[in-house]
């Protein structure tokens, strides 16, 4: 029993790191993703090309590789280095911002042109049309794909162990090396509980938006 509590508390410490990565990534990747999505829809052709290429690279390479790049390249090239956690968060934010930006772009582009034009002929400003007319409809349309991405993010946080962030799977691996296998499988419970809560939250949000169709 002692051993169980000991393992639980070690894993929880590790899971704290996962939660930190999760929280900070969400907090920063959503606004950054929105900015990137504007760039990828920009009327300025070169900007759009650069942004779309960037998104393509980030989505086309493994997050694990991106973690290595952010952690090792600055020190190899410029002799500066981020601490492990900072490097992990930078890589996660960039990676998820790229994915989010595509969801945002899809959502924004799915709103019919007529919605903008209706706002325009009613004398509304561009910003008013975006915030008062379009945004809510976009949020409704992207709730489901965003839920998927966010649940994936929870699981992805364990990738940070490849640059030695002491997250939960890393902690479990330490027990494995001492000959204790079950903590490794036990980590699944934490992920399941966390994602279960998130699923409840998302289905609540989706229900909230069900008051209208379209």
């Amino acid at each position: 029993m002692d051993q169980f509590w000991n393992v639980t508390s070690e894993l929880l410490k590790g899971f704290g790191q996962n939660c930190t990565i999760f929280g900070l990534t969400l907090l920063m990747a959503i606004p950054l993703g929105l900015i990137i999505s504007f760039g990828s829809m920009s009327g300025i052709k070169p900007l759009k090309a650069v942004v779309r290429t960037f998104v393509w690279i980030i989505r086309g390479t493994p997050l694990m590789l991106q973690l290595f790049v952010v952690f090792y390249i600055p020190s190899l090239v410029w002799g500066i280095s981020f601490d492990r956690m900072t490097a992990a968060i930078i890589a996660f934010v960039i990676n998820y911002a790229a994915y989010f930006s595509e969801i945002f772009r899809g959502g924004i582009e799915s709103i019919p042109k007529g919605q903008y034009e209706a706002g325009q002929v009613l004398g509304m400003k561009k910003s008013q049309i975006f915030f008062k007319v379009v945004l809510m409809q976009v949020v409704k349309r992207i709730t489901a794909p965003m839920s998927n991405e966010i649940i994936t993010l929870v699981k992805d946080t364990s990738l940070a162990r490849v640059i030695m962030v002491p997250e939960m799977l890393k902690a479990a691996e330490r027990f494995t090396m001492q000959g204790l296998i079950w903590p490794l499988f036990y980590t699944g419970v934490f992920f399941l509980l966390f994602n279960g809560l998130l699923s409840l939250l998302f289905s609540y949000i989706e229900k909230k938006f069900n008051y209208y169709k379209g």
Binding site: V121, L122, V133, Y211, Y212
Partner: protein, 269 residues
């Protein structure tokens, strides 16, 4: 002097010249119907008048004020453009209501935003000094408009719970809430089931009796005949024939007009 003057409007999309030198005028309280086959440029003309498209040439004047002049238009600020827009209202073929807002909110959204801006900048909006007063006035006005289009009891519904005809009537009320000088309709009944067109056409007839100035693009030739003071028949980006309903519909002079009307008569009015 005419209320609206449209002079020499020319609009191309790339090499495709969609409007070739369109000119007409409209008096206060007059109803103009625009008919013509699909692709003749009717929608584009309404969009130009409502600043959704920018013509390459031409001039648009309302009550003696030049609202659009192709020569100088690129110097007009966004703010000024928004102000000029309010001379016109536009009712779309497919309504374009805001789905996330109730009927009432669809109507009050734009006036409320306008009131907020004007009270902040000028200290008043149509006589109201505070936002609370303005909101009250805007809501009262919306109630009245909803009664006018026969949808007062639907004011707390969402657009998705209304029929097409009801949605289009809300769209008309929404456009009227900003008191446009000239209200434009782009085939307001084309997206509706046949049994629902009557209720929308009746609302437009009602507006005519209240002396609203309107431009109605329509395929309902019988309705155009009844409600319009003047008819324009457009063909290939030009005004092919223009006159009273008796002239254009009952005694068309142009062969193209006759051909167009004959196609309609085949299906019976």
């Amino acid at each position: 002097m005419s209320m609206l003057q449209v002079e020499n409007i020319q609009k191309s999309f790339g090499k495709n010249e969609v409007l070739k030198n369109i000119s007409f005028s409209l008096d206060k309280g007059e109803v103009l119907a625009i008919i013509g086959s699909s692709g003749s440029g009717k929608t584009t003309l309404l969009r130009c008048i409502n600043f959704l498209e920018t013509p390459q040439q031409g001039k648009i004047t309302v009550n003696g004020n030049t609202l659009f002049d192709a020569e100088t238009f690129d110097k007009v600020s966004e703010r000024e453009l928004r102000r000029r827009r309010l001379h016109f209202g536009l009712v779309f073929q497919n309504f374009n209501l805001f789905p996330q807002y109730k009927v009432m909110e669809n109507i009050t959204l734009a006036p409320s935003l306008m009131a907020k801006e004007q009270i902040r900048e000028n200290g008043e909006y149509m006589g109201a000094k505070t936002m609370r007063q303005a909101q009250q006035a805007i809501r009262d006005e919306a109630d009245q408009l909803l009664r006018k289009v026969g949808l007062y009891e639907k004011r707390e519904s969402y657009p998705c719970d209304l029929s097409g005809g009801q949605q289009q009537r809300v769209a008309i009320a929404r456009a009227l809430a900003l008191n446009p000088d000239i209200l434009c309709f782009d085939e307001p009944t084309s997206a509706l089931d046949p049994e629902l067109t009557g209720e929308v056409l009746n609302v437009i007839k009602g507006l005519k009796s209240a002396n609203s100035t309107m431009i109605v693009v329509t395929h309902e030739i019988g309705f155009a005949h009844d409600v319009a003071d003047r008819i324009i028949f457009m063909d290939g980006g030009l005004i092919e024939e223009e006159g009273t309903p008796q002239q254009v519909i009952d005694n068309p002079q142009s062969a193209r007009t006759r051909e167009f009307l004959a196609r309609f008569n085949q299906f019976g009015d």
